[in-house]
Each structure stands twice: as structure tokens, then as C-alpha cells.
């Protein structure tokens, strides 16, 4: 049977031949994760994803969520699946076993996450957000809060959410109006209405824990006056069981383009004046806490988008190999051939393949950097990898989800008319994927983050570290004659990107700041392209060295790695260079045009 969701050979290549994740097992913390265990984890995740999760994906889309008489109903099959998922202890793969985690390296859990999100990303919203809420409790909670909530969240016994957005406070979180009034017992009474709350209500678990952003009465306006609170759906009894209803009321759910199985709720807190929360972290430091969560969430969103893309790619390749339609251009009289023989289909498939491989490598590499931070003894090394995570995050979210959407879109095109019909899987993948370009900071905001914050971080040292990583690969590649044309192209693109970044950074620091930010998004795009080119070159150096002695199926596999590299450097990078030219032009038409000129 054809593979689904991901090319397992490519995952193994990346984990073992490129990133050599077994190295982490030399450290106590990850001692259990030798190659055998890693492979077992990936196999189990794949089996669970294919056998248990994937069959509920389309059903979840068709049933969707409903809201009747104040009750949110999610797809029926998700209930059993959620139990199985928790039984397998998949919710907290990286966390401390003390709190119910598996203590796995992030590079390794990336593979499991890819399979899970590729199989049913709308379902995965529930455990993923639960994990994020747990992370907040772990990082900022008191011992009491940890005791009450943490294990329940990390094991999935209770679920979690994140209450940021309000009708007037989306991208601009600082505009929020939810208030908190301190009670004599130290708790806070919360009042407000939050929208777009994923997993905001449902009956998957006996309690739902809402981290809530709110403003304490009298606190400053804007982001400086925002605090974070823990607000459970049911108050917690002294024995740790859920008690009285805490006045968190779902008043409606959204009808969305995709991720129908994920409930998106409007929640009214304290409508009857009975909603109590406890402060999580310090007063007025809510945004700082939120950013910790948000960075992780952004990487998760990148993984969600990417997982749609890898699944779409696998479906498209399988379909293209089976669907017979039209004769070959070079043998017009020999009847129909599988459409994978047609050059335009191949162009699309190789486009998808090279992006999928590049995105996978980027996301796993960010996991690898996390693992490096976890094991490095030297603080400078830790800071270096932490910096790499920070600068790669807007790319892993913004660039990856945009390219993931394009990959899903190609899959529809490869399927032709069938791609538009919901009986086949690719339409839903595109619909599901589309949200990843928006939530956790639209991709425009990711671009602003890259240009406005990350580029100048630590006086540019972080960028230099990233360039250092790329140059390391270029040095290795230069030793391999066969790669010369690609090495040259990647090097030239990096060179040009550096010049573009410098000029753009200067403009951003001048009074022409709007002109700079008008090019923030194209800059994100070209940076992402150069990073994918680097990662494909890195993979190419490994494949090139192994191809000579490869046997059997490894031969076409390594050849395929090199073809992705060749395609990207010859068919994509010239376009990237054109985009850099446009950025360098620094044209301000979109800044200067008057509002009345946009429409009559």
C-alpha cells in the first residue's frame, strides 16, 4: 500500500543522516532515546496516526461542531480518539515525566507531530492547546497552581485553551477590554467576552482550563496593563476534582472554511458575576508570559500547516502514479499514461517535494536547536541556539504556512476536477491549512517580527549566527565537486540576501520606516527561500556522499534529494533573486497611494 501523510524514508534520513539525533542520547536527560527507541517512537506515532486518527478526519469535517441549547458538540469519533491519544501518552512528548511527560527530544517528537497533524490536525487542536496551557502553568504557575493543574493538563485529563482575542482586539492584543477585579481572598473576578477560542467548549474532558488575558482594574492601557489568569470551566474542589460551574459560558461557535472538527467558541466570562480566576505569573506581565506560549504556538502552527502539505504531497504523488489520462508528449500514439509522466504534473510535484523537504528540515531543525539548548553545558552555546530558534520562528510559522498552502493548492490542481470534490482528500487539506496563515499572528505580523525584532536582535548577532550555520553547509558543499553549481547559487543568494537585509534594516531605522515595512513580507519570503535552499543543500551534501555506495531503493531516494536541490536552485532561486531586486527598489507606491485612490 502506498505511504500516507509522510515519506518515512525522508523522516529517517533527516533524523539520523542529517541531524544525527541519536547524539542527544549521550546526555542523561535523553539517555533513553537511542536510535532503536527513536525509530520505535516514529513507527508507533505513524501507526496510530494512520490507523486511528486518519479515519476520523473526514468524518470530523462532515459532522463538524454544533451549538445547541448552550451545548457544544464536537465530532463523535473524537471522544474515543482523545482517550486513545492520552493512553498513548502523546500529549506531552517533551515534558518532564514528573508531570506526565515522555521527556523526548523535540527533534524526535517533530516526526510524531508531523504524523499526528497530518492525519487530523483539527482533532490535534484539542491536545495541542492543552499542552500549551500546561506549558504556561509550568513556566509561570505557583506550586499550588502546578499541583492543581499541571499533571491534569499534561496527561490530557483536563483540556486547556488560550483566551486572547476579543472582537476589538485581534492582532492588537493590547486593545482588550476583559477586566479582572481582585477579591479579598486573592482570587480575581473576571468579566469579558473572548472570541475565536479553539476548544473553548466541548465535552471531551471533565474540565477545561482557560489561561485568560485581562486587565486588572486600574492597570495601564495597552499591553503594559495586561495580566494572565487561570480560569477553569469548573472551579477545583480541595480534593482536586472539578466543582462548581465557574460562569464561563459559550454563547456561540464559528462556521469556518476548514478545521470543522475544532470548536471555535465565543466565551462570556462572568456574565453572572461568578467567574473566578487566579493570577498566573505577575501582575501586568501577562504579555511577556504570552510570548513564551506564543513562540511555541507559532512553531506548532508551522507544523500544522506543513503537515497539511506533506499529506497533500503524498496523496498527489500517489494519485499521479495511478491516474491514467492523456498520451505522453513524446509518444502521442501509444495511449494514455499515468499523469506523473506529464511534464507540468512533474513540475508541480517536484515543486511540492522540494518545499516539503525544505519545510520538514526547517521545523525539525528548530526542534534540534531546542534539544541543543536543553543539553548544551556552555551558556554561549545555549544562547546561540536559543537565538536561532527565535529568528527561525517567524519563518517556521509565516513562510512555512504560506508555502504549505501553495503545496495543498498544487495537490488540488494535480487531482484536476476530482481535487475540487470533497470526496477526495485534497480540498479539505487546503481548507484546513488556510487558517494557519492567519492565527497566532497573521503572516504579515510574522514578517514584521522578522524585520522589526529578529533582524536586529542582540545587535545583529543572531542573524550572524544563522549566516554562520549556512556558511558551515556551504563549506562542506564546496568539497563536493558534483554540487558546485548549486553551492555557487546558494552562496550567491545568501550574499545578496545579506545586502538586502542591511539596506532594509537601515530603511526601517530611518524616517522611511513605512517604506521598509511595506517590504517586510517580501523580505520574509526571500529569507525563507534562502533558508530552504540552504537546508536542501545541507541534505544534498549528505545524499551526495552516500549515493556512491547506496543500494536498492536508497539510490532513487538519494537521487530524489539531489533533484529537489537542483530544482530549487535553478527554478526557484532565480525568482527569489528577482524578489530581492524588487525589495531593493524600495518602491513606495503602496505607502504613498491615498486611501481614496483604492476605490472610487
Amino acid at each position: 500500500m502506498a505511504q500516507l501523510i509522510a515519506d518515512r524514508r525522508d523522516i529517517d534520513f533527516l533524523l539520523h543522516e542529517v541531524l544525527n539525533v541519536e547524539q542527544f542520547s549521550r546526555h542523561d536527560r535523553f539517555a533513553d532515546f537511542n536510535r532503536k527507541t527513536v525509530d520505535m517512537v516514529v513507527s508507533e506515532a505513524r501507526n496510530f496516526a494512520v490507523k486511528e486518527m486518519l479515519p476520523t478526519w473526514k468524518e470530523g469535517d462532515e459532522q463538524g461542531c454544533s451549538f445547541e441549547a448552550g451545548k457544544v458538540t464536537i465530532p463523535e469519533s473524537f471522544h474515543r480518539l482523545y482517550q486513545l491519544f492520552n493512553d498513548g501518552e502523546w500529549l506531552s512528548m517533551n515534558e518532564d515525566p514528573e508531570w506526565g511527560g515522555q521527556g523526548m527530544p523535540k527533534s524526535v517528537s517533530s516526526a510524531a507531530s508531523e504524523y499526528f497533524n497530518g492525519a487530523n490536525f483539527p482533532f490535534m487542536m484539542y491536545p495541542s492547546l492543552t499542552h500549551g496551557a500546561g506549558k504556561l502553568v509550568e513556566e509561570f504557575g505557583t506550586e499550588e497552581q502546578k499541583k492543581t493543574y499541571l499533571k491534569n493538563l499534561y496527561t490530557g485529563k483536563w483540556t486547556g485553551t488560550m483566551l486572547l482575542t476579543e472582537a476589538g482586539a485581534g492582532s492588537d492584543v493590547g486593545a482588550l477590554e476583559t477586566t479582572a477585579r481582585k477579591n479579598p481572598d486573592g482570587t480575581y473576578s473576571i468579566t469579558g467576552t473572548k472570541i475565536f477560542i479553539s476548544g473553548g467548549d466541548h465535552e471531551l474532558a471533565e474540565n477545561i482550563v482557560h489561561p485568560v488575558l485581562a486587565r486588572i482594574e486600574g492597570a495601564p492601557a495597552g499591553t503594559k496593563g495586561i495580566s494572565l489568569f487561570l480560569v477553569p470551566k469548573f472551579r477545583v474542589n480541595p480534593d482536586g476534582t472539578p466543582g462548581a460551574f465557574n460562569d464561563v459560558v459559550c454563547t456561540g461557535i464559528e462556521h469556518k472554511m476548514g478545521i470543522h472538527g475544532s470548536s471555535t467558541c465565543t466565551l462570556t466570562l462572568g456574565g453572572s458575576g461568578q467567574c473566578l480566576g487566579t493570577l498566573l505569573g505577575e501582575e501586568n506581565k501577562g504579555m511577556k508570559a504570552m510570548f513564551v506560549m506564543m513562540n511555541e504556538a507559532r512553531l506548532l502552527v508551522g507544523m500544522q500547516g506543513f503537515s497539511c502539505a506533506t499529506t497533500a504531497y503524498m496523496y498527489a504523488v500517489n494519485y499521479a502514479k495511478e491516474r491514467v489520462q492523456g498520451a505522453s508528449l513524446v509518444q502521442p500514439n501509444e495511449g494514455g499514461v499515468p499523469i506523473i509522466r506529464h511534464p507540468d504534473v512533474r513540475r508541480q510535484l517536484l515543486t511540492m517535494k522540494s518545499y516539503v523537504e525544505g519545510m520538514r528540515t526547517l521545523l525539525y531543525f528548530v526542534g534540534y536547536c531546542n534539544d541543543m539548548v536543553a543539553v548544551a553545558g556552555d551558556q554561549a552555546v545555549r544562547e546561540r541556539y536559543q537565538g536561532l530558534i527565535e529568528i527561525l520562528t517567524p519563518l517556521a510559522k509565516g513562510y512555512v504556512t504560506d508555502k504549505a498552502f501553495e503545496v495543498c493548492n498544487h495537490a488540488i490542481q494535480v487531482y484536476g476536477g476530482y481535487g475540487y470534490v470533497e470526496e477526495y482528500p485534497v480540498a479539505q487539506l487546503m481548507r484546513d491549512c488556510r487558517i494557519t496563515q492567519i492565527y497566532e499572528g497573521t503572516n504579515g505580523i510574522q514578517a514584521m517580527d522578522l524585520l522589526g525584532r529578529k533582524l536586529g536582535m542582540n545587535k545583529g548577532a543572531v542573524v550572524m549566527d544563522l549566516i554562520g550555520e549556512i556558511k558551515k553547509t556551504l563549506r562542506t558543499a564546496k568539497e563536493i565537486e558534483f554540487l558546485a553549481p548549486h553551492t555557487q547559487k546558494v552562496g550567491a543568494a545568501l550574499e545578496k540576501l545579506g545586502a538586502v537585509a542591511q539596506q532594509l534594516g537601515k530603511t526601517a531605522a530611518s524616517d522611511r520606516v513605512l517604506y521598509a515595512f511595506a517590504h517586510a513580507y517580501p523580505f520574509l519570503e526571500v529569507t525563507g527561500d534562502v533558508i530552504v535552499a540552504w537546508l536542501l543543500l545541507w541534505r544534498g551534501t549528505v545524499a551526495a556522499q552516500k549515493l556512491g555506495s547506496a543500494k536498492g531503493k536508497d539510490v532513487p531516494f538519494y537521487e530524489g534529494i539531489l533533484k529537489s536541490l537542483e530544482f530549487f536552485t535553478t527554478s526557484v532561486l532565480p525568482v527569489t533573486l528577482g524578489k530581492m531586486e524588487a525589495i531593493n527598489g524600495a518602491n513606495g507606491a503602496c505607502v504613498e497611494i491615498s486611501e481614496e485612490s483604492f476605490n472610487g
Copy 2:
């Protein structure tokens, strides 16, 4: 109230200031269509679109079509709307009044078509396909067939369809298996199953006329043995009324990503051996007839896609002017501003604006070429304009629908989270738009048509005519100093495109044909970009000349035209040049990669 669907000022600018469509009223055929009448037609179309059609659009999406007990039910509101549409005589705007048409120039009807499709393109499928079926009867029917069917179709009393696709014959029409057996009375008994039939069944009208591609028993294999038949749902009585059921049975409908209001049917013909058809045109010449219909249908599909884009753009601009979110980058302490002040939103809006204006001009210009063919006394002139229509058709379909989809996608991004929620209009516009990239020949096939057929048409004379049109604009623009930087850039892009086309054409004629066709799609893209650049320059020459003496709202309008031009030449054309570089590289990675290398 904010404008919906289209910027009327831009339509007027295009019709009167750029194309000067009143010139056609000098000819008898179009004598009625002076400026006043043209403006009235556009106003009436707009009013009907906004007041009657638009309100049924979302309802149509939500209700969709259903199939129960053999009966297809379409959205209820479409029934009344269809009557109103026919009462307004909108179905055959360009056709001979003898058969129920309005005899309007196509440049003018383009504006009406934009409003109608922008308001409710799923609904428009019914009259549009009816018109297409009528066209086939007009072009290829006997007097008897015309008498029986033509007026009924052109007035919408009966509806029409097009039965090409079968499960094994999509892009490869020649593979079809539906058969026709000649009866002693000259009719044919038709047997087969057709899929993806838009408007294939419903109860909008008392009869449905199906033009059907089938193979007469004993005819050659492939496209050479295909004939076209007229097969009504109900046989026609001698008095012209619908009679006995003709054994055309709907066996199911598709559940699609979008255009839910348009029924997409599987039809079984002759399941009981009782399906009779009459030959339309000559035996075995069905494909030739089909191409006549298909070229018109492709232009229609371009209009459908574009109409989604212009509607999405108008919604996005209106939303961006109203939605307050985030402070200005240059006045960070002055509170929230409408998001149209943020540079990344402006970048997206101006991207949308310039494409919308470029696409509108392209589609109306094709209509204008049709009108030129209709009125030109000189055969050489007619042939020249006919050639322009032919070479622009794959662009008006393939390039336009791809860019239209991108515009719709930008609209979602401008709306942010609300864009993903079906309560707002932009998600549906993207879902509806997506089919236009697929049907009537996928955009990959449009690219093959451009490279393989149109580029070498009449020994390249057609291309030279197109280049001649562009150079005419360049000459005018060169007289306007203010436009110099843009004129230079458009000229350079045209120059380079010529070189790319020549090289690619040579490769296509060599044994490296697969390498050429691997770049057919990128070639379509860059050709489209250069054409949009040309058309924006043309518009710019008009705006630049008028700006000096303009007053009131015309000032920002003309300035906006020039900003679209500036944006496109400085922010898009450099990318286009990069794409041309990639095509010139003529890399064959996607041709050479083995099938096993695509996945493990």
C-alpha cells in the same frame, strides 16, 4: 454606501476612456449602443446584480444542491432569480435579436457579466451554460435544430449544458466511451455516462438541452472519431413543447469545495435504451465544434474567476477602511487606526488592485477584439483581431484565474480571522473561485495551448500582432515624460519575453520537447505579467494625460491608476524577470527525476 462587486468608475474609465466603445455605435450592427445606452446597460446590470443576485449568493452556498429520490434540488431563491434574469433579457446579450438576443458589443456586455458573476457566479452557471449550448446550435445546427432549440435556449426558456467529461476522460476528451448508434430515422441512440455536468439536472426550466460528445459505432479511436449530438432531457413534440422523457437520468451530484449552488451531476444516458439524439454538425467533427464552444467557455471562466477577484477586492478595501486595529507604525502612541493605514495591508490591497485592473482590461479588451472582428470591413483586420483573441484566450483563462485566486486569498488575509469565518464573504469567494483554475482545461493545459499552439500560430504572425499592440502603447507612453521609468521597464520586459519565447519555442520543436513543456506554465505566467504590465501602461497613458485637468474625485482616481502601474512595474516586474531567468535556465530536474524518486 460603499460600492460592491466592482469599481464603477474604473469600468467607465475602461469602456469610455481606454477602449472608447462608443466607436462601435458607428456601425449599423451596434447603432443602438451610444454612450448613453452603454451607461444605462451597465447601471441596470449593476442594480440587478446588487439588488437581486447578491442576496441569493450566500444562501445558495448554504443550501447548496441536494439529490434525493432521483431528484436534484437547487437553492430555492435561484428559481425566482432565473425568471427575473430572463425577464431582463440578460442571457444573450450579444446575440442576434432574431433569436432573442440583445445584439450588444462584447466589450459592453463584459461589464454586465462582471457584475453578474461577481454577485453570484454559482447561479450564473445556469444561464452561462445555456448560452454556450445555444451558441453550438447557432453555429452548427440545421435550420430544424435552430427552430426547435435556439430561441428557447437564448431566452432561457430551456436551459443547456455540455456533456464532455467521463470518469476516464477528463483532460483527455478523446478517451471517451459514450456511443451513438444510428437509427433508420436519422436519429441516434446514445449510451454512456457523463460526469461533472454543471446544471445537468434541476427544475429551473421545463427542458434541458444537452450537447453530448459521443463516438458513433465504428468511428475511429481518439478525438478523430468524436461527434456532437443534441440530446434533450425531454423529447420535443412536433408543436415544440417538451414531450416524453428521453432517458437521461441523474444518478448523483458532487459535494464540492465551492459553487455549491451549481448542481454538478452524473448523467446516465440510455440506461434503458431510450435516449435519442440528433447529430449537431458533421459526423466525427465533434471536437472541432467543441473547440468553438470551448474558446468562448474559457473566456467565460476567466470572467468568473476575475469576478470573484474584483468582488473580493472591493470587500477587502471596504473592510480595511472600517476595521480599526493597531496603532500606526509612525504614530505608535495615538491609538488604533483603520488597518488600511498599515503598510502590509496596503501592499496586499495594491497588489489586488493592480491585478484586478489588469485582468479587467484584458477581459474587456478580448471583448473589444470580438467587436472589432464583428465590425471590421477588411478581412485582414478581422483576422488580426481574431488572432489576438486566440492568443489571449489561454491567458484570459489560465493566467487570470490563477491571479484571481491569489486576489481572493489576499482578501481573506486582509480580513484576518474573520476571513476564515463563513459569516463574512471572502472565504466563499475563494472557494467558488478555485474551480475556475481547473475546469474548461486546467491552467496547465492552458499553458500547453499557449506554448504548443498559439505561439507558432500562423507562423508566429499572431504573436507579432500582439507585440505590435504592445509597442503601440509603448510609443504613446514614450511621449509622456512622467511615465518614462515605467515605459522603460515594460519595454525591457517585453524584449526579454521575446527572447524567452524564441528559445522556448525552439526547444519545443526539438527532441527536448519535454524540457520545453516543463516550463510551459512559468511561460504562461510571465507572458501574463507582461500583458498586465502593458495594459496598466496603456491605462496609465490615459490617466497621465487626464490628470492635469482632472477635478474632484477624478484626481485620486487617476492617481490610483498610476500607482497601480508604478507598483506593478517596480514590485512585480522584477520578479517576472527572475521567472524568465528560470525559464531560460531550462533546467530538466522535473523531467529527469525517476518516478521512484518522488516518494520512498
